[in-house]
Symmetry: C2
Subunit: 134 residues, 2 copies
Amino acid sequence: MHKENSKEFITTTALLGAGLLMAGPSLATNSKKMVVHHVFFWLKNSSSKEDLAKLITGLQTLKKISTVRNIYIGVPAATEDRTVVDSSYSASELLFFDDLAGQKTYQDDPIHQKFIADCSHLWEKVIVYDAVDV
Amino acid sequence: MHKENSKEFITTTALLGAGLLMAGPSLATNSKKMVVHHVFFWLKNSSSKEDLAKLITGLQTLKKISTVRNIYIGVPAATEDRTVVDSSYSASELLFFDDLAGQKTYQDDPIHQKFIADCSHLWEKVIVYDAVDV
């Protein structure tokens, strides 16, 4: 992770983003902007360390998918207990793609499909947030 | 973002994470692991481009906080419309910190406090997810 590069990126894209905001409603559909894909999983057996380990092992296979630019697999952090913080999930995957096409390729990749086939019995709930940089 | 570095990082920490999982319940409270802080905002006036622009301008001030290692400000991406995807939010901020202390410093920083004071009237709902790398 390179702090300064990222900050320059934000500064540059901030101007671009502001322009797009004024230009019309096409901001989120620009197919060439970086996509952040964040998925939160709630295990059926939320207290099972074995099931959590199986899920994390499955998530780690996703890094092999060609369009994945960065991947971070997490569990809830011990930050302050505030009402706005949802720490009820079991594990999370945070993926970066170059663009919408990269995300679609990931969805259809056999490695991703195998992960779902192998692990989906473990979870009872999933929430996905897909964001594009402004 | 450097793909190969990140993948090596995951590979290395996967082994560490597996060890921690077996060692006990202290995984999420390891204070020296990287923290991913992802916040989703729902505007009161969800169709107001002006309010969205104000919120994004406010979010962009957060990059100046010293413990912020990376920041990505986003809006919902035009990915597939699946039942698990929540695209109802207005904007998101994704921040990386070196550790729990960095996240706490950010919460208390005057720039963050000013953002809340200036912008909190714009939103009706916030959800925060804090994750540590496994």
